[in-house]
């Protein structure tokens, strides 16, 4: 709370980025603007900026991740920070240390920025209360993944010029997806029309009150959509627990040319990765002209540079 007060006049008046739910629409837009600049920096031969020079960034990943962790690592390095990756398999957590003790230990090393991914919803919030530095949520269980929602928004905005009044369909395992939750909040905050499309077994209870239109049928849900966001279906959920089989899921919920044909001609196809070709998305669609999946990865680095820079601006200077 005090941190928020201190940074009242900053364009990003928060000490952490724990979720999209903590952000005002104008703060989101400011971050996207900042990320646009970071895209330019990342496309230069010399990608190095010095705004995080002397700062220490620790990436603390309790859950395996390739692209998110390397994206945060690159973002930090391009801003001049010293970046350390802490893989959890090598850490003392495996020896029984509690999350709070891990936080206290890390805090004693005086990091400036802590990027955390954890398999439990709320774990990053708990950790943020126990450390003195700024914390970025890189995904906490099925709760939030704010940088993913920001990079998705940046990708859409660069192609459509706006977010407001676009129809965005989020398809797949909504129930277990932090990407879906962050995107629902962000897209609603910026005035998009949000739809979710999934079998009811993959929808969280109360979904109709989350500010979305709910569809169980892909053709209905994708009709006239400006953007389609596919979500990954984890293997352990495809064999009878939530959906009967891969082939049935692909038949009714896999994004193929036929289902996509009811969307707008200039529809954007997105996927946070890693994707399962032939499960939630057809290989030809994933590689097709409407697919922005690779571009999302590029935007990810830019968005993470933007948020790290915004947080660093609020760090104490002496």
């Amino acid at each position: 709370m005090t941190a928020t007060d201190t940074h009242r006049d900053s364009p990003y008046p928060h000490r952490h980025l724990l979720g999209i739910e903590c952000l005002h629409p104008h703060e989101i837009l400011r971050l996207l603007d900042r990320a646009e600049e970071a895209v330019e920096v990342s496309r230069q031969v010399n990608k190095r900026k010095q705004v995080l020079q002397g700062r220490t960034q620790i990436n603390l990943f309790f859950e395996n991740s390739t692209r998110t962790q390397s994206s945060f690592e690159l973002a930090g390095k391009r801003l001049g920070a010293d970046v350390m990756n802490m893989a959890v398999s090598h850490s003392s957590v495996k020896k029984g240390e509690t999350l709070i003790d891990t936080a206290a230990t890390l805090n004693a090393m005086n990091p400036d920025l802590l990027v955390v991914r954890h398999h439990a919803a709320g774990a990053v919030h708990l950790l943020a209360r126990k450390v003195g530095c700024s914390v970025v949520n890189a995904g906490d269980g099925p709760h939030e993944h704010p940088t993913q929602a920001l990079l998705d928004a940046l990708t859409i905005r660069r192609h459509k010029g706006k977010i407001a009044r676009l129809t965005v369909a989020i398809c797949g395992d909504i129930a277990h997806s932090r990407v879906a939750r962050s995107n629902i909040i962000l897209l609603n905050a910026l005035g998009a029309r949000v739809r979710v499309v999934a079998p009811s077994t993959l929808l969280p209870s109360g979904i109709a009150k989350m500010g979305v239109e709910v569809f169980n049928d892909m053709r209905a849900g994708l009709k006239d959509a400006d953007s389609v966001m596919m979500l990954r279906l984890q293997r352990e959920r495809m064999n009878g627990a939530f959906v009967p089989s891969v082939r049935e899921y692909y038949r009714y919920y896999g994004l193929d040319a036929e289902k996509l044909s009811v969307a707008r001609d200039d529809v954007l196809v997105m996927h946070p990765g890693p994707m399962n070709r032939g499960v939630e998305i057809d290989a030809s669609i994933a590689a097709g002209p409407q697919s922005l999946i690779r571009e999302q990865v590029e935007m990810g680095v830019a968005v993470r540079m933007a948020i790290l820079e915004a947080l660093a601006a609020n760090l104490p200077n002496q």
């Binding site: 077994t201 009878g240 627990a241």
Partner: protein, 305 residues
């Protein structure tokens, strides 16, 4: 009867029952070119078409073909005992013109190709309409949901776990939720397998006989659980066979709450009670077991509802 022969047919002196018209009266039925021209008391006064074959029914009941929603057939897997052909002949002999076949065959009907197999075999060998029911869970294991969408597209008319209840409430909840998306009917055998360890209705009668009993609660508890899950999922549900007065009340209450539910009662539970078991007449061992006379009367009242 040979409906497709060119010769007209008159069924005279029949008790004509037609639920669609709330008709139950003595009368005739006139059939020509495979079409019923008239049926009921008025048909008795119309005389017979030229050249008609006239059959004196001697007061027997003539009614629309019956539908049996729960038929266990030996095919596939036990063709040495029964085939779709022989089962369909037995059905026709009893006035049943449509049967729904249970999926607890060998192999279990849990794959679209097997639904297709039943439909082809029925087309080629059966003399009544055959509609396959498909498995609710893979191999009827009660844990992994079957491919409701693909099975339905192949021609399955409803989904059931056969004579095994789905014990796991979470599995049952997800099954009904998923089936709802496809507007698929779930038919469930409501019997808690742990409580239902016996061979006849639990009570004094079973105790004197020294037989293990199936308490009424085995059925009631599972039925009440299911209807709570129907309330969560808002799907279509049919309790395969109910046998107790409390079950009938549970279903009535559920319908009052607006649930899309129905229940089945077997002819056995409308005509017999546990006393008919007498001296260990084992052909009266059934699931659910025959209950007492009060339950029998409650079942008749439930049908009348």
């Amino acid at each position: 009867m040979a409906l497709d022969t060119p010769r007209p047919l008159v069924l005279s002196n029949a008790r004509v029952i037609d639920p669609a018209r709330a008709l139950d009266a003595p009368g005739s039925i006139i059939i020509a070119d495979g079409t019923i021209l008239a049926a009921g008391p008025e048909a008795a006064n119309q005389g017979a078409p030229y050249g008609a074959e006239i059959v004196d029914c001697k007061g027997a009941i003539a009614c629309p073909g019956l539908v049996d929603m729960c038929v266990s057939v030996g095919e596939p897997g036990a063709e040495h005992r029964e085939t779709l052909a022989s089962a369909s002949q037995a059905a026709a002999a009893g006035g049943v013109t449509t049967i729904c076949t249970m999926p607890d065959t060998d192999p279990v009907i849990d794959d679209p190709a097997l639904v297709d197999f039943i439909l082809r075999r029925a087309r080629d060998t059966a003399i009544v309409n055959v509609h396959p029911l498909a498995a609710l869970t893979k191999g009827l294991n009660g844990m992994e949901m079957a491919e409701i969408g693909l099975l339905q597209e192949a021609g399955a008319v409803a989904f059931t776990n056969g004579h095994k209840s789905v014990e796991n409430a979470q599995v049952m909840r997800r099954m009904m939720t998923y089936a709802r998306d496809f507007d698929a009917l779930v038919i469930h055998h409501t019997e808690d397998p742990d409580l239902a360890g016996g061979v006849m209705n639990a009570g004094l009668n079973a105790s004197w006989k020294g037989l293990s009993g199936v308490p009424r609660e085995a059925e009631i508890i599972m039925l009440e659980r299911d209807l709570r899950l129907v309330g969560m999922s808002r799907g279509k549900y049919h309790a395969n066979l109910i046998s107790t007065s409390d079950s009938a009340d549970v279903v009535r209450t559920g319908k009052k709450r607006g649930l899309d539910i129905t229940a089945g009662i077997s002819i056995n539970h409308l005509t017999h009670n546990e006393n008919d078991i007498g001296a260990y007449r084992t052909f009266f061992k059934m699931s659910p077991p025959l209950r007492d006379e009060d339950d029998l009367e409650a079942m008749i009242a439930a049908i009348a509802d």
